[in-house]
């Protein structure tokens, strides 16, 4: 991932995904499960003062096709909320979201991004991300048949191809998540996202639940897929080493607002915002390594 590529990406005019002043709120007490379709403004606790906590406060963001964008910040900084708003699992309360120049997200609604060839997501906990009672095959086949992405008779074959593309054997089609390792589950989750032929992949802390050697494999897999499929990837992470390894560009979130954004190398070596500096200082080895550059 060189700076030159990233600069080219930046110079490339049409954005694939744009956020214009997007805000999102949780009620004082979070009232429903993820994917709540009620507008945030109506989700106040009945007994409380009705004050709303902003999870995102006017975020502006432009994502270019093919780039790899890192979103960093500590727990509670709004990273995951941003991801959920972008994929359309959580309603925004202000601003708009554009996908390929079309407005897909308006205040009070969840973003209506296309599922096929659109935006897909990979989650943090590989076990929770897969339905425990379904086999890998039925998880993949459901997508292919519901969206008629291939003929019913070819669904099995296509599922096997998808698994092979993430480095898994077709043997596991009949297995359930319980009998797979965390790394394998995460690969299945990636295959599930790839089944849609997405243009943007939101990877929410995809490696933080995996052990170090598997982390590298999964990151490499995403990087490879990015190249072969021309995928745009948004990495949501608290891990600056991950950012350093795979992201062209990075934005730093603090309390739901963007405090800094720019090329990864610039931000990590010359942070201008004190919050970013404190994040980097929290990772001593990485700080040392970067100063050496």
């Amino acid at each position: 991932m060189t700076g030159r590529q990233a600069t080219q990406a930046l110079a490339d005019p049409p954005a694939i995904l744009e956020l214009n002043g997007v805000s999102a709120h949780y009620g004082k007490v979070r009232r429903r499960g993820p994917g709540d379709r009620r507008p945030a403004a109506r989700r106040r606790s009945p007994g409380g003062s009705g004050a709303l906590l902003p999870a995102l406060a006017g975020v502006h963001l432009t994502v270019r096709p093919g780039e790899s964008l890192g979103i960093v910040g500590e727990s509670g900084s709004g990273k995951t909320t941003l991801g959920k708003c972008v994929v359309g699992l959580m309603p925004i309360s202000a601003g708009q979201i554009l996908f390929r120049g079309q407005v897909v997200g308006r205040p009070g609604r969840v973003a209506d991004v296309p599922r096929v060839n659109g935006v897909q997501m990979v989650y943090q906990d590989p076990y929770s991300a897969l339905n425990p009672k379904r086999t890998v095959g039925s998880t993949l086949r459901e997508i292919l048949t519901v969206h008629k992405l291939c003929a019913r008779s070819q669904a099995q074959e296509r599922s096997a191809e998808l698994l092979e593309s993430v480095g898994l054997s077709a043997d596991i089609l009949k297995r359930r998540p319980r009998s797979l390792s965390g790394g394998m589950c995460q690969r299945v989750a990636i295959a599930r996202a790839l089944a849609f032929g997405p243009t943007v992949l939101v990877a929410d802390e995809v490696v933080s639940a995996l052990d170090a050697s598997v982390q590298a494999q999964v990151l490499n897999l995403i990087a490879d897929t990015r190249e072969t499929a021309g995928l745009t990837v948004i990495f949501i992470t608290h891990d600056l080493a991950v950012v350093n390894q795979v992201c062209d560009r990075v934005i730093v979130l603090n309390r739901g607002a963007v405090v800094e954004s720019g090329l990864t190398a610039d931000i990590l070596s010359r942070p201008s915002d004190p919050y970013t500096r404190s994040l980097i200082d929290a990772v001593p080895e990485l700080a040392g390594e970067l100063w050496q550059r």
Binding site: V29, R31, R32, G33, P34, G35, S45, P46, K84, V87, G88, L89, R115, V116, Q120, M121, Y123, Q124, D125, S128, A129, L130, N131, P132, K133, E142, I143, V146, H147, D171, S179, A189, R192
Partner: protein
């Protein structure tokens, strides 16, 4: 991989074996206990079968004669062991009053009770699943509060009172349903069983709703439900395929674990609605001091509870290795 699967199956069989062995070892002492307690309790009641048979104005001589004939003049310990001996041969004894075998009495009343409980469970699910779903999707909101308060209130309502209300209003006033007795044929059976089953279902509803609400809201928190939403499938399909199917497993266990409660309440419900099931037979036998019928029915109740809870435990152990430990 084949080897892994094979050893997995082997350990599953072993696990089920452990559960089954433990349960079988428990069965005999449990049934012995049930038989001893009911044996003593029915004899502690004032009066007895002899009184019922000969009437209040019988001479002491005829009372003694009938007692001897029924074997009730022998010492209690000897009576109990004779009873156990019969049980060991699968003989539940004979009714003092009619001479019919207890086994055939149980057999002729079992079906009604089984149908009552079966229909009650179905009704509890038909009413409970939508309520639990609304509650879980609106956690903490007013819908949730109303449903939770409402179901807890049904838990507090005595089933005989609910039964009487239902008979009075839906049965006698509106004449929507028959007010008692059993029907014939499928339609007649369901028609007659509806109000009693609804009464039983209402007392069971709170348990169903609470458990389902908890499991649905836990599943809603899992990422795979978000992933299912991102599949672009309908909300109903997300719910039915990905949420409800997972949430329904604990409910199966719930029905099994509450079987003793359902059987106990069915005794009351059958008497309110004059349903000729085991519960009604039990109460009339107690009133007539027909000792062996009371003991027999109680034993069968005990056996049903043990068999069903064992079955539930086996199913759980097969599905989830941790529960067998």
């Amino acid at each position: 991989m084949a080897a892994v699967a094979a050893s997995g199956r082997g350990s599953a069989t072993r696990r089920l074996g452990t559960v089954l062995r433990r349960r079988v070892i428990q069965v005999v002492p449990t049934l012995l206990g049930v038989s001893l307690v009911t044996f003593i309790l029915v004899r502690l009641l004032p009066g007895g079968p002899v009184q019922t048979l000969v009437g209040v104005r019988a001479t002491p001589a005829s009372i003694a004669a009938v007692s001897r004939q029924l074997g009730l003049s022998r010492p209690l310990v000897s009576q109990y062991f004779t009873y156990l001996g019969q049980l060991a041969h699968g003989n539940l004894g004979y009714s003092f009053l009619t001479g019919t075998s207890v086994t055939s009495i149980v057999a002729s009343h079992l079906a009604v009770t089984a149908e009552l409980i079966g229909l009650a469970v179905v009704l509890a699910l038909i009413i409970g699943i939508p309520l639990a779903t609304v509650s879980a999707y609106h956690r903490g909101a007013w819908q949730d509060q109303v449903i939770r308060a409402g179901t807890v209130a049904t838990l507090g309502l005595p089933s005989f009172w609910v039964g009487i209300l239902l008979v009075t209003y839906l049965g006698l006033r509106l004449k929507w349903f028959p007010s008692g007795g059993a029907g014939t044929g499928v339609v007649g059976t369901v028609d007659h069983l509806f109000l009693p089953a609804l009464t039983l279902a209402l007392t069971f509803l709170a348990v169903v709703v609470r458990s389902l609400r908890a499991s649905i809201s836990e599943i809603l928190r899992a990422d795979h439900v978000d992933a299912a939403r991102l599949k672009g499938i309908s909300r109903f399909r997300v719910f039915s395929r990905h949420v409800l199917r997972l949430a329904s497993l604990p409910v199966v266990a719930l029905v099994g674990l509450n079987m003793s409660y359902l059987l106990g309440t069915s005794v009351i419900v059958e008497n309110v609605f004059a349903l000729p099931g085991m519960g009604q037979q039990l109460v009339s036998s107690i009133l007539q001091r027909d000792f062996l019928v009371v003991q027999g029915i109680t034993l069968v109740f005990g056996l049903i509870v043990i068999v069903i809870s064992t079955a539930v435990e086996l199913i759980q152990a097969a599905l989830d290795p941790r529960s067998a430990a």
